[in-house]
C-alpha cells in the first residue's frame, strides 16, 4: 500500500509539464540512438550527462533513464528493416524480424515488438514498484560462481539454435567461443590473439561483429543478383494473423518474466534475456522449423525481454545503489553528480524523487508505444525501396555506426571483415545465431569461471557448494540431455526421410 501511495505521489511529480517534456526528450533520444547502429544507450546517456548539469535532479534522471529504456525500442527498427542491429539487445531480432520484412510483414514485426516492449516495460516497472527491495537482496547472492552456472545454462540453449546440421552448429559455436577469447585474459592479464594491436586488447565489440555478420553479408548476398532481390509483393496489414495471436501472447508473457528476472542479476547485459528468450520460444514452439524464416514469436519474445530487463535492472540501483550494468553504472554517476546517492536511504529521505522517476518510466513507455505504433507502418515502407537504392544507404549507415563504436576506422575494418566472413558462412550454410550467442555468453562465462576458481583458491568446488549454482547446473544438465535426445530424434526422422 505504501508503494501505491508512493507511486501516486510520483505521478504528481512526473506529470508536471517540465518533467513530461524531459521524459519525451529522453525517450526520443533513446529511440534515435537505438536506431543508429554503433552509438548505444550507454554512450548516449554518458554524453548527455553534462547537459543535465543545470537541471533539477529529478528532471535530469527522468531524462537520462528515458534514454536507457527508449534505446531498447529503437534497436528493433534497423534489425527488422536492414538486418543490422542498432544495439546489442536487438541482435537476435535480426534472425526472424528481417525475414518477416522480406515477406512484407515488417509492420507486423515492428508493431508486435512495440507492443511487447510496452507490456514488458510496464510489467517490470510494476515489479520494481511493488516487490523491488526483497528481490534486490536476493539478486545480490548471484556472485561469479552463480553467474557461471547461469551462463552455462544459457549455453545449453544454443543447441536448439544450431539449424539443420549439428556439425555446422558446432563449427559456429567454436567460432563464437574463439572470438570471445580475443583480448586480455581477465585473471592473469595475459594478452591473447592480439598480434600487438592495442585495439584488440579489450576484445571485439558485439555490435560491430553483428553488423558485419548480419547486415553486410546480407548486402553482399543481395548484390549477386540485384534485380532479383526479394522485394515483398505488397505490405501486409499491421496486425498479426489470428492463428499467431496465442503464441505471440505467450512469447510476450515469457519474455516479460525472463527479462525482469535476469535484469535483477548484477553483471548481466540486456542481450542475454533476448538471446535466451529466442531459444526458449524456439524450444517451446510446436513448429520450430519456422524460426529463422520469419516466426513472429522470435521477434515478440526477445523484444519484450530486453525492455522488461530495463525495469528489472533499475531495482538493484534504486533499492541498494548497485550499478548492475554499464548503462546503470552511468546513471549511478548521474545520481551522484546531482548530489543523490541511490539506495534505501533515498527512498526514505527523498521519496518524491524516487517515485517521480518510477512514475516517469510508466509515462515514458506509454509515449514510446504511442510513437512506435503509427511509425511501424511508416518504417515498414522502407522494405519496398529497391535494393539498388537501399543497399548504398545501409552500407553508409553501417560504416558510420561502426565508426562511432570507438571513433576509429578500426571498427569499420572489423565490420567489413565480418561482412565477408558472414557472406562465406551463408554460402556454406553455417548458422550465425550460435556465433553471436556463444560470443556473448563465452566472454562472461570465462570471466565468471576464472573468478569463481580464484575465489575458491583454485578449486571448482564453489560451483556445487552454492545452492543456487547447483540448482542451475542440474537444470542445465536436464535441458542439455533433453535437447540432445530431441535433436537425435529429429535427425533420425530427417535421415529416414532422406532415405525414403
Amino acid at each position: 500500500m505504501d508503494s501505491l501511495m508512493g507511486l501516486w505521489s510520483g505521478f504528481e511529480v512526473a506529470m508536471t509539464w517540465q518533467n513530461l517534456l524531459y521524459c519525451l526528450i529522453g525517450v526520443t533520444v533513446g529511440q534515435l540512438v537505438g536506431v543508429l547502429p554503433g552509438i548505444g544507450p550507454t554512450t548516449a546517456t554518458a554524453l548527455l550527462i553534462p547537459l543535465t548539469y543545470g537541471m533539477a535532479p529529478v528532471s535530469a534522471i527522468i531524462m537520462l533513464s528515458g534514454i536507457y529504456y527508449g534505446g531498447m525500442y529503437g534497436g528493433t527498427i534497423t534489425s527488422v528493416l536492414i538486418n543490422t542491429p542498432g544495439e546489442a539487445a536487438s541482435v537476435i531480432t535480426c534472425l526472424d524480424g528481417h525475414e518477416m520484412a522480406k515477406q512484407g510483414r515488417a509492420g507486423v514485426a515492428l508493431g508486435v515488438a512495440a507492443i511487447g516492449s510496452f507490456i514488458g516495460g510496464i510489467a517490470s516497472i510494476l515489479g520494481l514498484a511493488l516487490i523491488g527491495p526483497p528481490l534486490a537482496e536476493f539478486a545480490l547472492r548471484f556472485g561469479p560462481t552463480e553467474m557461471f552456472s547461469l551462463m552455462l545454462f544459457g549455453m545449453t540453449m544454443v543447441v536448439g539454435l544450431m539449424g539443420t546440421s549439428i556439425v555446422r552448429g558446432l563449427v559456429a559455436m567454436f567460432i563464437g567461443l574463439t572470438l570471445s577469447t580475443i583480448g586480455m585474459d581477465p585473471v592473469s592479464g595475459m594478452l591473447r590473439f592480439t598480434f600487438g594491436q592495442p585495439f584488440l586488447i579489450s576484445g571485439l565489440d558485439l555490435v560491430t561483429i553483428s553488423m558485419g555478420l548480419f547486415g553486410l553479408s546480407e548486402i553482399f548476398l543481395g548484390m549477386e543478383n540485384l534485380t532479383a532481390v526479394g522485394k515483398p509483393e505488397k505490405l501486409s496489414s499491421l496486425f498479426p494473423k489470428k492463428e499467431e495471436l496465442k503464441s505471440t501472447g505467450g512469447a510476450i508473457a515469457r519474455g516479460t518474466g525472463l527479462g525482469f528476472l535476469i535484469g535483477l542479476i548484477p553483471g548481466t547485459s540486456s542481450a542475454i534475456p533476448a538471446l535466451i528468450s529466442y531459444s526458449l520460444e524456439k524450444r517451446l514452439s510446436k513448429t520450430p522449423g519456422r524460426f529463422g524464416k520469419g516466426a513472429i514469436e522470435g521477434v515478440a519474445g526477445p523484444e519484450t525481454a530486453n525492455n522488461s530487463y530495463c525495469g528489472g535492472a533499475m531495482i538493484p540501483l534504486l533499492t541498494l545503489g548497485i550499478p548492475s550494468s554499464p548503462t546503470i553504472a552511468i546513471l549511478l554517476g548521474a545520481f551522484i553528480m546531482h548530489g543523490l546517492t541511490p539506495g534505501p536511504i533515498l527512498f526514505t529521505q527523498d521519496p518524491t524523487f524516487v517515485w517521480g522517476v518510477i512514475a516517469s518510466m510508466f509515462i515514458g513507455n506509454l509515449l514510446l508505444v504511442v510513437m512506435n505504433l503509427p511509425l511501424a507502418g511508416w518504417w515498414a515502407k522502407i522494405a519496398m525501396i529497391p535494393a539498388k537504392l537501399l543497399y548504398p544507404i545501409v552500407l553508409i549507415v553501417c560504416i558510420v555506426g561502426a565508426y562511432t563504436v570507438s571513433n576509429d576506422l578500426w571498427d569499420v575494418g572489423v565490420m567489413l571483415v565480418f561482412g565477408v566472413v558472414g557472406y562465406v558462412m551463408k554460402k556454406i550454410d553455417i548458422p550465425m545465431a550460435p556465433i553471436v550467442l556463444t560470443y556473448v555468453l563465452g566472454t562472461m562465462m570465462e570471466k565468471a569461471l576464472l573468478q569463481s576458481v580464484k575465489m575458491n583458491n583454485g578449486s571448482l568446488i564453489g560451483l556445487v557448494q552454492s545452492p543456487i549454482s547447483l540448482a542451475i547446473l542440474i537444470l542445465a544438465a536436464i535441458v542439455l540431455v533433453g535437447s540432445v535426445l530431441a535433436e537425435i530424434k529429429n535427425k533420425k526422422a530427417a535421415i529416414a526421410g532422406d532415405v525414403d
Binding site: T42, T43, T45, A46, L47, I49, P50, Y53, L140, R141, F142, G143, P144, T145, M184, D185, P186, V187, S188, G189, M190, L191, P198, F199, L200, I201, S202, P266, G267, P316, L320, G321, I322, P323, S324, P326, A329, I330, L332, G333, F335, I336, M337, G339, T341, P342, G343, P344, I345, S406, N407, D408, K447, Q451, K454, M455, N457
Partner: protein, 319 residues
C-alpha cells in the same frame, strides 16, 4: 654532399622554428581536440569534459572531447603521442601511462608526452562489508596475517590501478591477499555487497552508495590527506601504515610541441582546474582536486613511473 645535407637540415629547422613562432602568434587558430582514452561516462571522461569547457572559455576556440577507448588507454594515448606536435590534439593522461611498459601493453611512458598539467587525484579506499569483524586497518591486517591468502580483495581488473593498490598494501604489510579481478570497479563493489569477497581497494567514490546504504564501511583512505567526502575516515598513514597510493589524471600534448603553445595551454588548464564547477564535480565523484603545473607534473609523473615500475616488477603481471 654532406654540406648539402647540413644545409637542408638547417633550412628545415629554420622553417620549423618559423612555423612555431607563427603558431604562437595566434594559438589557437582553430578548435583543440582532447582525446580521452576511455569510454564516455567514466570519471576520466567527465573530468576531461568539464576541463574542456573551462579551457574553451579561456582559449576562445572550441575544445572538443573525443573518446578513443581500448587497450587500457593505449589506443587513444598512442594516437595522440604519434600525432602532430602543434598543440591542437591533446590527450587526457591517466595514471595508466606509467604502468603500460611494465604491463607490456604499449611502449608509452612519461617521455611520450609534454605535460600541460595534472588536475586530479583519485584516492583508493580500503572498504569492507559493514558487518565484517574488523573496524580498523590494524584489525584487518591482523586478520590477514592470521589467515594468509584467505581475504579476497576485489579490484577493477588485473594490472589495473586498484589491483596495484591492494598489492602495494600487501607488500607493505607482508600479508597475502587473494586478488579477484572484475571488469571495472562497479562489479567489484557489487560482489562485495553480496559478500562474495571480503574487501575492495577501489576509488572512494565508487563505494559511496554502498556506505550510505549501510552495507559497506571504509577502513582507511590511501591518500596522504583525508578524503573530504569521508572526513571521519582515517588515512593509512594515520593508522600507522606508511603507504600512500592514489590514481591521478592530467593532460598532455605530443612530444615536441613548441614551448609557447604549451605555456598557453598550461595557463588555460590552470584556469579551468580552478573553477568552482570543476571543484564541485571532482568532489562529488569521490576524487580530489590536485593541480600541478607542467614542471611539477613532469617531476611527479617521472616519480610515479619509478614507483609503479618497482611495484609492478614484484607482481609478475602481463607475462
Amino acid at each position: 654532399m654532406k654540406k648539402l645535407n647540413m644545409l637542408a637540415a638547417v633550412s628545415v629547422l629554420a622553417l620549423l622554428a618559423g612555423g612555431a613562432t607563427q603558431a604562437l602568434a595566434a594559438f589557437p587558430e582553430r578548435e583543440v581536440t582532447i582525446v580521452v582514452p576511455f569510454n564516455p561516462g567514466g570519471a576520466s571522461d567527465m573530468t576531461a569534459r568539464i576541463i574542456a569547457k573551462g579551457m574553451e572559455a579561456d582559449l576562445g576556440k572550441p575544445v572538443v572531447v573525443v573518446n578513443k577507448a581500448g587497450g587500457s588507454g593505449g589506443v587513444g594515448m598512442s594516437q595522440v603521442a604519434r600525432g602532430t606536435p602543434d598543440g591542437y590534439t591533446l590527450s587526457y593522461i591517466p595514471v595508466e601511462l606509467v604502468m603500460h611498459k611494465a604491463l607490456k601493453l604499449s611502449d608509452l611512458g612519461p617521455d611520450s608526452f609534454e605535460f600541460i598539467g595534472q588536475t586530479t587525484m583519485v584516492p583508493a579506499a580500503l572498504t569492507v562489508s559493514s558487518d565484517a569483524p574488523y573496524d580498523t586497518v590494524a584489525d584487518f591486517i591482523k586478520y590477514a596475517k592470521a589467515n594468509p591468502g584467505k581475504l579476497r580483495v576485489g579490484n577493477s581488473g588485473t594490472g589495473s590501478i586498484w589491483h596495484i593498490a591492494a598489492s602495494a598494501l600487501e607488500g607493505n604489510q607482508g600479508v597475502t591477499f587473494n586478488h579477484i579481478p572484475f571488469e571495472g570497479a562497479a562489479p567489484a563493489v557489487t560482489a562485495l555487497m553480496g559478500k562474495h569477497i571480503e574487501a575492495v581497494t577501489v576509488n572512494s567514490g565508487e563505494v559511496k552508495a554502498g556506505v550510505d546504504a549501510g552495507k559497506l564501511k571504509i577502513l582507511a583512505i590511501m591518500t596522504p590527506e583525508r578524503d573530504p567526502a569521508f572526513p571521519k575516515v582515517p588515512t593509512l598513514i594515520e593508522s600507522g601504515i606508511n603507504l600512500e597510493f592514489a590514481g591521478w589524471g592530467g593532460f598532455g600534448a605530443p612530444k615536441g610541441t613548441p614551448k609557447p603553445v604549451l605555456d598557453r595551454l598550461g595557463a588555460a588548464l590552470q584556469k579551468a582546474a580552478s573553477s568552482d564547477e570543476f571543484k564541485n564535480f571532482i568532489v562529488s565523484r569521490g576524487m580530489i582536486v590536485r593541480y600541478r603545473n607542467p614542471e611539477d607534473c613532469r617531476k611527479f609523473v617521472d616519480d610515479q613511473y619509478v614507483f609503479f615500475n618497482d611495484l609492478l616488477s614484484k607482481m609478475e603481471l602481463g607475462k
